[in-house]
């Protein structure tokens, strides 16, 4: 035994979800990054234009720009943050998904709770 045992990480089973199977491939030229950058610029400017031009009713507009933001966030996660990369287990994806769920819940429920629909009529 030349190398000492690391105190950590000696197995456990790794759960693989087919969809989330790790990928590490990289192109010779940073196409992904360039595409991601261009896409986020387009999406940002697009959202800005939509708002400046008031193309939709306020609520619809809000929904659309939120959707654009979500797409952009997905691009960042996928293209820049190498979301699918990991040493086997895909736990960070599961955890992130729960975190996002909790986050959305907090925002939506807080707004709902604080709008006070109460009233003796």
């Amino acid at each position: 035994m030349s190398t000492p045992h690391s105190p950590a990480a000696h197995g456990g089973e790794e759960i693989e979800i087919a969809l989330l199977a790790p990928k590490f491939e990289e192109h010779a030229f940073p196409w992904r990054q360039i595409f991601g950058y261009a896409a986020s610029l387009v999406l940002t400017l697009g959202a800005l234009l939509l708002v400046e031009r008031h193309v939709l009713a306020p609520t619809a507009l809000l929904v659309v720009i939120l959707a654009l933001a979500a797409i952009q966030a997905g691009l960042q996660l996928g293209l820049f943050m190498h979301l699918r990369e990991s040493a086997g287990a895909t736990w960070h994806v599961v955890t992130l998904a729960i975190g996002i769920g909790v986050a959305i819940g907090i925002v939506i429920f807080s707004i709902w709770i604080m709008t006070f629909k109460s009233g003796v009529s």
Partner: protein, 205 residues
């Protein structure tokens, strides 16, 4: 310190994933980010509830100027891109290029923070402090928390540059640069939502 799991993939795996002990740090950092998502969600919830509570202070329409905010957004988006290129270079083992792109990322971050501080000081000079209203309090806190995160990232990047300069790309430094990149892209995502929820929707209606 060699990897036990996935010996088959060992050769294809990027440096930062080769040592299973180092990968614990990557998973840990993802979990921290997931936790930070909830922190920002709470601040967003506060902002969403408070944005109309302007009391006697200014309204969102009065204080938001999309011009400078758009510049900030582009700065941050670009820094996210340069950071991504940095990782790309790291995976190709090019230390100098990595350091250059990382330094560029840091400078763009600095420019972003500088602009934000300028924006804040002008706002305070024109409209008064965050004491004025719940809206101003939540606005400054939400945006400021993000700015604080970015500032911390700049400090982190500086430390990484020193370490890279001394040691080059090793398993340990690669892992650290990689977690830094996760952090930096994450801040970019938060900013996208800040830009949308705070600034853009402030201009709707």
């Amino acid at each position: 310190m060699t990897v036990q799991a996935h010996p088959a993939q060992q050769t294809q795996m990027p440096l930062e994933f080769r040592d299973s002990h180092e990968t614990l740090g990557i998973l840990g950092f993802w979990l921290f980010l997931a936790s930070d998502v909830v922190l920002f969600a709470c601040l967003f919830a506060v902002y969403a509830v408070f944005h109309g509570r302007v009391a006697a202070g200014p309204t969102p329409l009065q204080i938001f100027h999309l011009g400078p905010v758009l510049t900030e957004t582009v700065l941050l988006l670009t820094s996210s891109f340069t950071c991504g290129i940095g990782i790309f270079m790291m995976r190709r083992g090019r230390t100098k290029a990595l350091m250059a792109w990382l330094a560029l990322t840091m400078l763009l971050g600095l420019a972003f923070v500088g602009m934000e501080i300028t924006e804040f000081t002008t706002d305070v000079a024109t409209f008064g402090t965050w004491h004025q209203s719940a809206f101003l309090s939540s606005f400054f806190t939400l945006v400021g928390t993000h700015g604080g995160h970015v500032s911390f990232g700049i400090l982190w990047a500086a430390a990484l540059l020193v370490r890279l300069w001394r040691q080059g790309i090793t398993q340990a430094t690669a892992r650290r640069v990689y977690t830094f990149s996760l952090y930096w892209h994450f801040l970019d995502i938060i900013w996208i939502f800040l830009f949308t929820v705070v600034y853009l929707s402030g201009k709707i209606t």
